[in-house]
């Protein structure tokens, strides 16, 4: 009885306060009809044929902000992401001694068949999200998170030995993750080194030519829009995020008896 009363009072509170807020909003307009000047600059320059010196050559403003306008920010956020994963690995050190599977493992044949069909679809959609990140909503982070669902489903439906017998182990995932990070680093300094070799000013994480630094990475490759560095960043981030999440998922499903034998 008390629970229902508390729930009802919360709902009533929300509805009445929002009525009050909407009456006030009648006079001061939230949200406004105009966006902030900074956002206006982003929208105006994200794909602009006229103003060649400021554009990011990507129709997707969010990806342009993530990897071009605020690229350094994203690099450090990637660092935070990997610190969390390195923390998990450090906590689970010495736990990666797997025993062999004993007999039939996993869920029923219906679940296994459905997983066999859906897992390639999930990976396909994830790759599409990641590689079209500069054209449609999506990018490396989103594609990698989507693709990380596939190993999770395989582990739950088939058991983790299905993955380990096919060579998908913690070490392989660490290698893929490090290669992804390395590629992010190389793409970030490409424009800078082009500038060094051609004696023109350029900066780290530069994508398209700016007024003071006229180095520009190709926006079109074979007639296809790749928006300079954005496509490569998305590809690298896709592999890195996928591998990072797979490591933590593999850690979480270590069987209890493996831990107990480790303690003894």
């Amino acid at each position: 009885m008390r629970r229902e009363f508390a729930l009802l009072s919360i709902i009533l509170f929300v509805v009445s306060v929002s009525l009050l807020v909407s009456i006030i909003a009648h006079y001061i307009y939230i949200p406004g009809i105009n966006i902030r000047p900074l956002a206006h600059i982003y929208l105006n320059t994200t794909y602009n044929l006229v103003n060649r010196n400021f554009t990011a050559n990507s129709p997707e403003a969010v990806t342009a902000i993530v990897w071009d306008y605020r690229g350094l920010d994203t690099v450090f956020e990637t660092t935070v992401f990997y610190l969390a994963i390195i923390g998990s690995i450090a906590l689970g050190r010495g736990l990666f001694k797997f025993s062999k599977s004993s007999g039939e493992t996993g869920l029923s044949i219906i679940v296994k068949s459905v997983s066999r069909i859906t897992t390639p679809m999930i990976v396909t959609v994830a790759v599409s999200i990641a590689l079209h990140g500069h054209l449609t909503p999506g990018g490396g982070f989103q594609g990698g998170s989507t693709a990380a669902v596939a190993p999770l489903i395989i582990i739950i439906a088939f058991s983790q030995y299905f993955l380990i017998e096919r060579g998908i182990s913690k070490d392989l995932m660490l290698v893929i993750r490090s290669l992804g990070l390395l590629m992010i680093g190389i793409v970030a300094i490409t424009a800078y080194f082009i500038g060094v070799f051609t004696k023109t000013p350029a900066f780290v994480l530069q994508n398209q030519a700016k007024t003071v630094s006229p180095v520009s990475l190709p926006a079109y490759l074979g007639g296809q829009l790749i928006s300079g560095t954005l496509w490569f960043f998305n590809l690298a981030e896709f592999f890195a995020v996928l591998a990072g999440f797979t490591i933590v998922i593999l850690l979480l499903v270590i069987p209890e008896r493996a831990f107990k034998s480790d303690v003894k």
Partner: protein
């Protein structure tokens, strides 16, 4: 006199504020570590929704706002003008996108930490863990 769109927006806003309070209550006063983590994820999702709501834009000429992506022929001048006129703020979305993925990684780390605490102490009650002293 009250615009329905404004009313629903303020309903979302007030519900978010109440949700923020409830999740903070969960983080501070629930003794179970798993329930603390659940409340923490609700808290971070609420904060992310707040950030998205800040970037929202009122409808222009009774036409709904569009996401910050140029759909169709992006080289066309007319489509670009329409895009700048009606698109929402892309910056909060860019911040939230990375925050969600990092939040997921941090949550997985916390879950694994909690699992290890359970394996070591045999309990998830924060009062019991404090009493055990190490």
């Amino acid at each position: 006199m009250i615009n329905p769109v404004t009313y629903f927006l303020s309903l979302i806003l007030t519900a978010l504020i109440v949700n923020l309070g409830l999740s903070l209550y969960g983080v501070f006063f629930r003794p179970s570590l798993i329930k603390k983590i659940i409340a923490l994820t609700i808290f971070s999702d609420t904060a992310n929704t707040f950030a998205i709501l800040i970037g929202f834009r009122r409808w222009v000429d009774n036409q709904p706002s569009i996401p910050p992506v140029i759909v169709g022929d992006y080289t066309s001048e007319i489509i670009q003008k329409e895009f700048i006129k009606r698109s929402v703020d892309p910056l909060p979305q860019a911040l939230v996108l990375t925050a969600i993925v990092i939040g997921l990684a941090v949550t997985l780390f916390l879950v694994f930490l909690t699992l290890q605490i359970y394996r070591t102490y045999g309990t998830l009650d924060i009062r019991e863990i404090r009493r055990l002293r190490g």
